[in-house]
């Protein structure tokens, strides 16, 4: 058992080590000290309560985004729409967060989260339904919906939902009510706990329910799924809706727990990081948590690394890219580890292309 777990995590683990090693060479090439830089990175991400809070806050939307990609992937679909789904979730959660007042927190906060989740489910479900009914490829549709979502949320925050307080000229909504703000327990933001619960729920649903069995059957062998009586089209629509909901929750938590409002341009690119996380986690919902924590830590510690070691924070992006490269090309690592070609579940990113 432990051996099989070891085999599963070997590739991402070695990928991280290789990424950090090559990062160290790059740091050396800038005449800085890798040990100082990496120490600063870790201290910046874990050194004190504030650092831990920062790491957990950074990791939260990454967990949701990673789940959004991983869940769709289980049904054999590649969800590139995390960015758009996140924005939709962020703006609608903020809308309910500032637009209604006088509700107690136990009602208002769940309501705001729910608004974001439902909007995201519709946004994601749209791509799944188009694929199921017309064969439109989800990769193309979700990419395009990202642009639509970007413009729609820009418009909402610049026009009907604009913050008109003072002489604000920025495209942003008003601050959400206190009753819709996600609290923090010590150094742990409640949004992070929600994300962990979401990951556990995804795992349970996929592994222990008949719905999860249907999703995985469609992902592994669409013909056999059809043979066994599964409604393949419904699974495509519904998994994309779930994926959209997950990404949107990430956006909702940003609005309600970190930024306190929706502001155009603030979350740019955040939704795409879910792809990195899902790859690093090899599409395992539970693996998404450590993968997001690792990347969250690097992002939280980057500025301290720059300050202490004089290394440009962009190095973090380079290291992330390197890790992603090694995860996506597991052959290199398997060769390094002299691992036999295993027949276990393979993560193939090409899935879906060309065989709609």
């Amino acid at each position: 058992m432990s051996r099989s777990i070891l085999r599963t995590i070997a590739v991402p683990l070695v990928a991280v080590v290789l990424g950090l090693l090559i990062g160290a060479v790059l740091i050396l090439s800038q005449n800085a000290s890798p040990s100082t830089a990496y120490t600063a990175l870790v201290v910046g991400g874990l050194g004190d309560a504030d650092a831990v809070l920062r790491t957990l806050q950074k990791a939260t939307p990454l967990i949701f985004g990673g789940l959004a990609v991983a869940f769709a992937f289980k049904a054999g679909m590649f969800n590139i729409g995390g960015q758009g789904q996140l924005l939709i979730g962020a703006v609608f959660a903020a809308g309910v967060g500032f637009g209604i007042d006088g509700l107690p927190m136990v009602v208002h906060l769940p309501l705001a989260l729910l608004a974001g989740a439902i909007a995201g489910a519709i946004w994601g479900g749209l791509a799944g339904t188009l694929k199921a009914t017309t064969g439109a490829h989800e990769v193309i549709v979700t990419i395009m919906l990202n642009f639509v979502a970007g413009n729609l949320t820009d418009w909402l925050s610049a026009n009907p939902w604009k913050d008109n307080s003072g002489n604000n000229i920025v495209a942003r909504t008003p601050l959400v009510e206190d009753s819709a703000t996600i609290p923090t327990l010590g150094a742990v933001p409640v949004g992070f706990l929600l994300a962990v619960a979401a990951a556990a729920t995804c795992w349970m649903v996929l592994e222990r329910t008949t719905y999860g069995f249907e999703v995985r059957s469609v992902g592994h062998n669409r013909n056999a799924a059809q043979y066994s009586g599964i409604k393949v089209g419904w699974i495509m629509s519904s998994t994309m809706a779930v994926a959209g909901m997950l990404a949107a929750l990430g956006g909702a938590v940003e609005s309600l727990g970190v930024d306190g409002r929706f502001e155009a341009g603030v979350n740019v690119g955040l939704g795409f990081e879910g792809i990195t996380i899902a790859l690093l986690a090899r599409a395992n919902p539970l693996g998404v948590i450590p993968a997001a924590l690792l990347v969250g830590l690097m992002e939280a510690g980057a500025s301290r690394m720059q300050f202490k070691a004089g290394v440009a924070p962009e190095l973090i992006d380079v290291i992330q890219a390197l890790i992603l490269f090694f995860v996506a090309a597991p052959i290199i690592i398997k060769w390094l580890l002299r691992m036999r070609h295993d027949t276990s579940e393979q993560l193939q990113l090409g899935a879906g292309w060309g065989k709609s």
Partner: protein, 503 residues
């Protein structure tokens, strides 16, 4: 002339975890036909791939025309006069015959392809060997037997002295197969040698000069047709005595279970695949559907099991119309389906044996309750299927991909038979599996019949149809040519119907 045309000498080839060829030696002399016999996974393909330069042996040599050679690839083998006719033809359908024949070795004149000279050579070759063909016909317009002829000409065009034929009769009617054997015999008269790979024992006895039997990567027997029989060959292949023909009692047909009227079904390209089919299957009888593959069998099975919607017509099970119902609605009526392509429809390769054992039953009690899978119940059920259907697996948690074809098929049969069923749709139920498993599955299908299940058996193996069926329907070009009682059926009669000939 060479003493030995083609030989493998002590060839050993390992793959991770498998010794595919273990010290294998064969030799082919000019003018002779060497039959290579063995079950799936016995090492035939590996050996042939070594001889054709696709694999390099770990040890041992390949000899071509008395000379030890080191092949670097198929091109190398072809240039030394080895020709291969694959089971699945390697032709470009929209191109003409002559273009297909020269493909990869095009004659040129001033940098342009010169087909005139090629055409002359093709005509000359086809006349010399009695392989008449129109060099300007499009390959896609040719029947399968003719396409095979193009493949043979392709090898002869490249001056092959040796032809390797991989399961060449699988796609032919019995008459076409007989004709092919005649052509091959004629070819050997010019000194050509042929390696003939097959699993049809009758053909081996009919055509071979020498027979080599492989099992588990080793040569387990060398013989000639005069020294052996079908039973003897089967025993050599399997390593124990086997029953080639399962005994069966007379059928006791009951009420009509499946009734198909005026059924019209289109194929994937929207062309008519089934053109007004009418037939019935009664409880306690096996209706065999014979025919060369691609005459509508797949569409028939898919239409009955709900995987494909008919364009017209009615399908009734137990008097209830179920035309265009979903697979789940049909399964619910007590219909079991052994699909023709087990990898595509029958199993999910990465799923465990346990998960596969409930593939189309996961949503029912006791396997799940209110949407939650009950893993202990599922494992217990899988263990029962494994025990009762003799599925060889270390446990029920290994992925189905680790099972051999025969064991996967037994798992599917076990799954489908684990409920009370009224109607069994069995499509190619023993394709590509070992003789022991074939015998086992045949027995189980007969058992179902004797319990009163109506069975529709679709198979490209005429022996299987003849051995199991009570009545035989012959499908040709989407139509049923005739339905004959099994007592009145013989290979000759059915073969003619398979070719669309009625008298």
């Amino acid at each position: 002339m060479s003493e030995i045309l083609l030989a493998a000498q002590n060839v050993t080839k390992k793959f991770p975890g498998v010794l595919a060829n273990d010290d294998v030696s064969i030799r082919l002399r000019p003018g002779r036909i060497l039959a290579l016999l063995g079950e799936n996974g016995a090492g035939k393909s590996t050996l042939v791939n070594v001889l054709f330069g696709m694999y390099r042996p770990d040890s041992g040599q390949v000899v071509i025309k008395d000379e030890t050679v080191d092949l670097h690839g198929p091109d190398d083998a072809i240039s030394r006069g080895i020709g291969m006719v694959h089971q699945h033809f390697q032709l470009v359908p929209p191109m003409r015959v002559v273009e297909n024949i020269v493909l990869g070795d095009e004659p040129t004149k001033r940098g342009l392809v010169d087909l005139d000279e090629a055409r002359n050579r093709v005509v000359e070759l086809s006349e010399r060997y009695g392989l008449e063909i129109d060099p300007d016909a499009l390959v896609e317009d040719l029947p399968v037997g003719m396409q095979q002829r193009v493949e043979i000409l392709k090898a002869l065009y490249r001056n092959a002295d040796v032809l390797i034929m991989d399961e060449p009769t699988g796609v032919l009617t019995p008459q076409e197969a007989d004709h092919l054997l005649g052509v091959l015999r004629e070819l050997t008269e010019t000194g050509l040698g042929i390696v003939f790979i097959t699993h049809k024992l009758r053909e081996v006895l009919a055509i071979a000069d020498d027979i080599v039997v492989l099992r588990n990567g080793q040569v387990v027997g060398e013989t000639t047709p005069s020294q052996t029989s079908e039973g003897g060959l089967a025993e050599m292949m399997v390593g124990r005595s086997v029953v080639l023909q399962v005994e069966k009692s007379a059928a006791d047909p009951g009420d009509v279970v499946l009734k198909v009227s005026e059924l019209e079904v289109n194929d994937d390209r929207g062309q008519v695949a089934l053109d007004g089919l009418n037939f019935e299957v009664r409880a306690g009888e096996i209706l065999g559907v014979a025919g060369v593959e691609g005459n509508g069998q797949r569409e028939l099975v898919e239409a009955i099991t709900g995987l494909r919607h008919p364009a017209f017509g009615v399908m009734e099970i137990d008097g209830e119309e179920l035309t265009s119902s979903s697979p789940r609605q049909i399964t619910k009526k007590g219909v079991a389906h052994i699909p023709e392509d087990r990898e595509k429809h029958g199993v999910v390769a990465v799923y465990s044996v346990a998960e596969n054992s409930i593939l189309n039953r996961y949503h029912r009690k006791p396997f799940s309750i209110r949407g939650i899978l009950r893993r202990h119940v599922i494992r217990g059920h899988a263990q029962d299927v494994v025990d009762e259907f003799d599925v060889r697996t270390p446990n029920v948690l290994v992925p189905a991909s680790s099972l051999s074809g025969g064991n996967k098929q037994k798992l599917i049969v076990g799954r489908e038979f684990s409920d009370e069923i009224k109607l069994l749709i069995a499509a190619q139920p023993t394709r590509g599996i070992d003789i022991g498993a074939i015998e086992f599955i045949h027995r189980r299908i007969l058992e179902q019949r004797d319990k009163g299940t109506a069975v529709l058996l679709v198979s490209a193996e005429l022996d299987e149809i003849l051995g199991l069926s009570d009545r035989i329907a012959v499908l040709y070009d989407g139509k049923i040519m005739d339905v004959i009682d099994a007592h009145d059926a013989d290979r000759e009669k059915i073969g003619l119907l398979m070719a669309g000939i009625t008298d």
